[in-house]
Symmetry: C2
Subunit: 397 residues, 2 copies
């Protein structure tokens, strides 16, 4: 019989998808260039040219049986080695092939990580604001996601609330920095303080607490900075990475899970992931994206456009009276709405063809998310429209 | 803490993988051309040239943002439509886009199908001989796989045993024809008899019983025949397909799940699969293999080599005294070993550099599998070696 648990979900609507579909439909009426669609996190710059060239070269030159044959279940061995060396080069940790498990994007990495370090019934702590898909990612594995409320002053970790929620049944902690939806990058101080608390609690509880670090936006950092790398501060870290954002390849589903070389049982965790795969139908990401990505692993798309867009939106919207924590990376910004009900706020914005996403589902009611992975020209054109919206609906500010 | 359930699996060894690794190691000693490696089901003929050309064309001509952007979670809509039309053309059933869900190969399709039509604790019936990975595919979802013993006379369905096992708690039945490991194709009579029994039991039990039909070998059929298509005989059929074998693309992980248009709630089942994906980290197969496959969906690799190999092995091994049910398709054959202990039999064969897989794990102790997706020249060279093995170890026959 049909599984009623999954069937029941059909009645739940995804706010982001609905808004995105509305934007597309509205675009067909008035021209998509006239819809200021800030709904979706789909990269707006092309992938590295070397990725494209690698795919073409592989298909022109390689033996098709070797190119398209079964990949080992942990991923192509040479690709895993390339990823390990890349991480060692970048972060100074002794990553080896054995620590890397290739996945279908960060979603695939998280699906394995949660099953790796929890069993059904275990508690996983996450932090607001958070990507809403974390709920099914974690809860469908049988573990239970519990959310630590946001520190609205800066969207760093609310340490007091974290310590209170960090109970002995907590087996894993899930972070996402640079963050979707706030764009905020956890400071070194935040990461250190979190790591210290986790070390303290591991000792107190007498069991490992794993940190699942979801880092698809790691390379999209502004102001010439780099984001502190959590695994360098906390040994029991499972890093979940995706090339969807940094290389603009979300459709190709390519990412990895990296076990910190200093984690408990570090040498067998990726191998266990291969066992988890057997039951969830994963069986390795596609060969071609693995190989083509590895051919240009140190590159990213030209992500400077996102910083340009952030600068415009932060400056102009702050001037309009919005309260905003300045994003340090990603292509998201999370301003406070101009009324308590952010759903009503975003509904009103639609009248001006401004597509904004209420952040209630992200654990931040009263806020809204803008995904500014769109052309800068369109961001610029949206400013007077935003201003008109604010003035007409909420008066002179 | 590390999940002990998955960790415990590391001590279990895959017989096939061990033998394949042995073959590779032995090949390094004496030259791989001298190892008669019948262990692995990795296709030995290249993918269609049109697949390769489609990948190159897409990367040369398409806008990278469109090509590599997020695909809808059910799969690229145009690709789903192409698959639906292909199935309608082939089998005369009114498939539409809404019935198709794109997956990462058949493994991905089965992972969704079992979660779609069972809940944890439900019974799923399968039939010996069977692909050993069905155990984790089914059991890790929470359902329980129960195996109906083989009919050793012909490797069709053992109907008497099937009816006995078909209890009211059975929510799904899993078949695989053409079959791995026997190479046998279920006859129209078998499919009809099975369908009639399922219809009868659905009425008796008062609930749907879904048929999960795993068909990666559907196109690899010998003697100019075609395999009867189960969904044409039984309405509640979920077809799981992969292009791994027919197009020689196992590394690209491309397949689909097709809901029979006459199934209960046919119009929502693929949509529910999109909900299942959220929890198992699937989120759509890679875009490029979807699009390139769709560009040549009616083609297959040149699979005539498999029939040639079947002919040689069946004729020569029967003459050597092996008892064999003649394969009607795939690239597998399942002879009876020449002693009761097929593990010992295959162990002895290794001395002759013949890599044969004992079929105990496939639910057929006393039998062994040969995967003859290798060059015909090598099959021919293996015959005198097989003969020598048989004569030396088991005497003149």
């Amino acid at each position: 019989m049909i599984n009623e648990f999954y069937k029941a979900r059909l009645s739940g609507k995804s706010v982001i998808r609905e808004l995105s579909e509305y934007a597309t439909a509205r675009g067909q009426e008035i021209g998509y260039e006239n819809v200021f669609d800030y709904s979706l996190g789909n990269p707006s710059v092309p992938c590295p040219q070397n990725y494209t060239e690698a795919v073409i070269r592989l298909h022109q030159q390689e033996n098709p049986m070797a190119l398209h044959g079964y990949s080992p279940s942990l991923g192509n061995t040479a690709v895993r080695e390339t990823v390990a060396k890349h991480l060692e080069r970048r972060f100074g940790l002794p990553y080896r092939t054995e620590h890397i498990f290739m996945t279908s994007g960060a979603a695939g990495a998280i699906a394995h990580a949660v099953r790796l370090v929890t069993k059904p019934g275990d508690k996983v702590l996450g932090f607001a604001p958070f990507f809403p898909e974390y709920r099914p990612y974690i809860n469908d594995s049988g573990a239970q996601l519990s959310i630590v409320p946001a520190d609205f002053s800066n969207f760093q970790i609310n340490m007091e609330a974290f310590e209170k929620e960090l109970t002995p049944d907590t087996q894993a902690v899930l972070i996402n920095s640079p963050n979707n939806p706030s764009g905020v990058v956890y400071s070194e101080e935040t990461i250190r303080e979190m790591a210290n608390l986790l070390y303290k609690k591991q000792e107190e509880f007498g069991h490992d607490i794993f940190l699942i670090s979801d880092e698809p936006y790691r390379e999209i950092i502004f102001d010439g900075k780099t984001a502190p790398y959590p695994a360098a501060y906390y040994d029991n870290t499972i890093t979940c990475y995706s090339f969807s954002k940094s290389m603009s390849l979300p459709g190709e589903r390519i990412g990895y899970l990296a076990v910190c070389p200093r984690a408990t049982d570090a040498e067998i965790l990726a191998v266990i992931c291969g066992q988890i795969s057997r039951g969830i139908g994963h069986n390795c990401p596609s060969s071609t994206p693995q190989l083509a990505m590895a051919a240009c692993i140190d590159e990213t798309s030209d992500i400077s456009v996102y910083e340009k867009n952030r600068n415009i939106l932060y400056k102009e919207m702050t001037a309009m009276g919005f309260s905003i924590v300045k994003p340090g990376g990603t292509f998201y910004i999370l301003p406070k709405a101009l009324e308590a009900d952010s759903v009503a706020f975003c509904q009103k914005a639609k009248k001006y063809d401004l597509i904004l996403v209420p952040a209630d589902g992200f654990g931040c009611p009263g806020y809204f998310r803008m995904a500014y992975c769109i052309d800068t020209e369109k961001v610029e054109r949206s400013i007077p429209v935003l201003r008109k919206f604010v003035e007409s609906e909420y008066g002179q500010r």
